[in-house]
């Protein structure tokens, strides 16, 4: 059972309370963008085996979105952080490096 702590309400929620929302920190390309940029934003994903930054919604709790850093190979959760972050905060990166010393950063 995957358990993530919601940074909005502080509840340690089981995955049954949560709705996954896919890759985080995508830069939005909307009206006026080129077709290529829009396609990449809409459909292309990094999909790494390893550390993944992703969106979650506390669907059956406070209802709010948040972000998580998680390993897709071991399902280990390193940290959760506010949805309003444009990039993973330093504390999140430090939590990852503490567990994965050789980690080379976001692909």
């Amino acid at each position: 059972m995957l358990t993530l702590t919601c940074p909005n309400c502080g509840v340690a929620a089981d995955e049954t309370e949560l709705a996954p929302g896919g890759e985080a920190h995508l830069k939005r390309f909307g009206p006026g963008a080129s077709d290529d940029d829009f396609e990449a934003y809409m459909f292309a994903r990094a999909n790494p085996k390893g550390i993944h930054f992703e969106r979650w919604r506390h669907a059956y709790g406070c209802g709010k979105w948040f972000l998580a850093a998680r390993c897709t190979a071991t399902l280990e959760v390193f940290a959760t952080y506010p949805a309003q972050s444009a990039a993973p905060p330093e504390a999140v990166l430090a939590a990852i490096r503490a567990r994965r010393p050789g980690w080379e950063g976001r692909s």
């Binding site: 459909f43 992703e54 190979a73 399902l75």
Partner: protein, 416 residues
């Protein structure tokens, strides 16, 4: 060696000393005309048809583990061609026809069993949708029948027909659908490819691609550099990882899907059945175990094991459909990593790198596609043009807004 009934009898009389290994175990050559990455069903079928139908030579298949260690040996073995959309149905019907002649074609018993598949109907709206789908199937040369409740009851009297929330009102049936022994599909294609000179190289992981001037030159592997004029990648759940070696980002996410097998029971489910009110599909193996499954876990995963909530959800689906299974014990559970594409449909196409071709995005319905996927990928690799039934499976459909969205739900990586 050709397999036959006579051969089995002859071997039985001589102590079974004449059987030979089914394929060679060659060391990689320095270079090949065509290298296929991935020794699953699709990669092996591609190599087989390249050699047999398209007259290609100097072919290798590189597999990081052992042949058939991926999803081809992990699936719930259902085959069918009951799709709605023009981009899909001709392809899957082509595949079903290849299944029908496969065992004779590759001289191997793959236990192709056309035991029929029914998709249960629970509401009037669902009956309308399935009627439309059945008509689309018939227009594409496939078979489809609409069953009423009495007909379903005659087949499976123990189903929960009068469930207050999900009464069973009928079914869409495809009699030519069924199941196939999945491992034997990998072995049969492997044997057929090997006997036509294809090098099947196991324990050989592709770790990089050598690309110069926009053209592929070969592959870095755990067994050294292997040169190639053309490379076809068919690695299912590892698609994003392997194609990242060419600097490509795919419209694909990798997700875990689980499969379940119960203890052996006396025969009581003759065909394949899908519950239309939840997500649950079931058949009974020749050994008596109920083989069933449901949804993916829902978040990116490369862990070939699933989590508990889906197990509960699948068990609830099974119980809602046929309460009789409540006392059967679950024997085995496992997971596989699915290449979930953004519209639920696959890709068989060239890439921006010359000589590099891609086959993937099968979601969790790629087993039934194995023969046609191999044939169409071989067609593309050998002739540099798409097979007529696979024309829609292009990368640029996302750019051009021509998604093949079978369920009409919009583009998201959790479809089917």
């Amino acid at each position: 060696m050709r397999y036959s009934g006579l051969r089995v009898i002859a071997e039985a009389l001589t102590g079974h000393k004449g059987w030979k290994p089914v394929w060679r175990d060659p060391a990689p050559q320095p270079d090949y005309d065509i290298v296929i990455v991935g020794g699953g069903g699709h990669g092996l079928a591609t190599a087989y048809y390249l050699a047999k139908e398209f007259g290609q030579k100097r072919i290798a298949v590189l597999e990081k583990g052992w042949l058939g260690s991926g999803n081809v040996g992990r699936n719930t073995t259902i085959i069918r061609s009951n799709y709605l959309l023009d981009g899909n149905e001709p392809f899957y019907e082509f595949s079903l026809r290849l299944w029908e002649g496969l065992e004779q074609d590759f001289n191997y018993n793959a236990m192709v069993s056309q035991r029929g598949i029914i998709n249960l109907i629970h509401t009037d709206a669902q009956r309308d949708a399935f009627t439309r789908r059945g008509n689309a199937m018939i227009l594409n040369g496939a078979d489809a029948e609409l069953l009423d409740q009495a007909q379903v009851r005659a087949m499976y009297p123990f189903l929960n027909f009068d469930n207050a929330r999900f009464p069973i009102k009928g079914a869409l049936m495809q009699r030519r659908g069924g199941t196939v022994r999945h491992d034997a599909v990998a072995w049969g294609y492997a044997r057929g490819a090997d006997s036509r000179g294809v090098d099947l190289i196991q324990n050989c992981e592709v770790t990089g691609m050598r690309i110069a001037g926009g053209r592929i030159l070969g592959l870095e592997t755990t067994r050294g550099f292997i040169g190639a004029r053309k490379v076809g990648v068919a690695v299912a759940g590892s698609s994003s990882r392997v194609m990242a070696h060419a600097g490509l980002r795919l419209p694909i996410e990798s997700h875990a899907l689980q499969a379940f097998v119960s203890e052996g029971l006396k025969p009581f489910i003759d065909g394949v059945m899908t519950f239309g009110a939840g997500h649950f599909y079931v058949s009974q193996s020749d050994k008596g175990g109920l083989v069933f499954g449901g949804d993916i876990d829902g978040y990116n995963s490369y862990a070939a094991r699933g989590n508990l909530p889906v197990i509960e959800d699948v068990a609830e689906g099974g119980m809602a459909l046929m309460p009789a299974i409540g006392r059967a014990r679950l024997l085995r559970i496992w997971g596989g990593i699915m290449d979930m594409s953004m519209d639920g449909s696959p890709i068989i196409d060239r890439t921006p790198v010359e000589g590099l071709y891609f086959n993937g995005g099968w979601c969790y319905g790629g087993f039934k596609a194995t023969p046609a996927s191999g044939w169409c990928f071989a067609h593309l690799l050998a002739r540099d043009e798409p097979h007529p039934t696979a024309r829609a499976y292009r990368f640029d459909r996302f750019l051009r807004g021509l998604m093949i969205d079978e369920k009409g739900q919009g583009a998201q990586p959790n479809l089917h």
